[in-house]
Symmetry: C2
Subunit: 220 residues, 2 copies
């Protein structure tokens, strides 16, 4: 815990609070980090949103949302967690320990959110902002449009061409709901084998979701 505070360059006034932030629910202690995670999640959403708002004054809301989504997610927060070596100091149950819980994205990302929630709670937004932005700049030294717009369809196409010499097929399975808020269920096939199904608010949206699932499967 000393090391964590050194890396963050932040000393917790309330060491109990820090302990709570590090405690995964698997511990069955009286308190765990779920409530702090709830708070920290919203703090990070705001701070990263504000960062992008100021960095990209010409970008419209839709683009800002997409960029934020690529920074505010379990995978990204796991990277933040590892950067501050949270994997070395989270408290998890023996079962989770045996189950490689210390490496799980969900556990690490929750702990990171909880740490941010705890700092916000005792020191306010500006202190939390400094710490978050420092980490953000270390982890994403060049936040630019390209790297923040992960286009899974394009990415997947490159992978399948390299791997199988073909491009994926997207098949519309079903249109769901009334005309004014229709949803589209699509499947993704590679060489006639189904790799993903997803529902989206447009065909393009459902295709992106399918592509993301298949991309993740192939890159595992």
């Amino acid at each position: 815990m000393q090391n964590l505070q050194k890396i963050l360059n932040y000393h917790f006034k309330d060491q109990e609070l820090l302990l709570t932030a590090l405690t995964h629910k698997s511990c069955k202690n009286q308190v765990n980090n779920e409530r702090l995670e709830f708070l920290g999640d919203a703090v990070l959403d705001l701070l990263i949103g504000e960062f992008l708002y100021k960095k990209f004054p010409q970008k419209q809301e839709g683009d800002l949302s997409k960029m934020r989504a690529s920074l505010v997610n379990e995978q990204s927060f796991m990277n933040f967690a590892k950067a501050i070596k949270l994997d070395e100091c989270i408290l998890i149950s023996a079962n989770e320990e045996a189950n490689d819980g210390r490496k799980k994205a969900s556990i690490l990302s929750s702990a990171f959110e909880a740490i941010i929630g705890a700092i916000y709670l005792e020191s306010g937004l500006n202190v939390t902002k400094k710490i978050t932005y420092k980490l953000l700049e270390e982890l994403y030294p060049k936040i630019d449009i390209q790297s923040l717009f992960m286009d899974y369809k394009t990415a997947l196409q490159e992978v399948t061409q390299a791997k199988f010499g073909v491009t994926p097929d997207y098949i519309l399975l079903e249109e769901i709901g009334p005309d004014h808020k229709k949803q589209f269920k699509m499947a993704l096939h590679i060489q006639n084998q189904e790799y993903a199904q997803a529902i989206g608010t447009s065909k393009k949206d459902a295709q992106q979701k399918c592509a993301k699932i298949a991309y993740t499967k192939l890159m595992r």
Copy 2:
């Protein structure tokens, strides 16, 4: 605009910013309130989350999330917008005007988020917090567990019994996706007539969504 600032008890340092916050995208001006809405949305998520976090120290994360969802939504933000008389000062196109745009939940709630985003931008979180909490306490004088947990299934049942003398039927239409993240598509029938369809992460979730749709239809 003077009246709005009086109601908020807040004078905008930057009157251009205020104008931007009031400008709906239908105006086709160079700037509109979409970017400020993006920011304000995250500010409100945090402030209302923090409010609940502190007010309900015994509540778990899941309950806090549900409570927040019942306060942070288009309908609720429309009420905030009306409370500060935003309907009287938003700028919308002639088309939207003819289309009753001044009364639309989406337009009013966006404008409210943008106003909050603008205040945050020029005066920081603490000033925004005071204004938001004052409004919150005026609009929801007794924020309690009951009123924040709208159980649509129960509410709908009361309505259908009073109106038709029967309870609704929930019908499972389809299970979608792989076992580890299955989704459930359900329909809601009242007296053999379909009132709603919805997809949820559990049958219960899909039923609640169906109930909400049907409830809203019947209460219109």
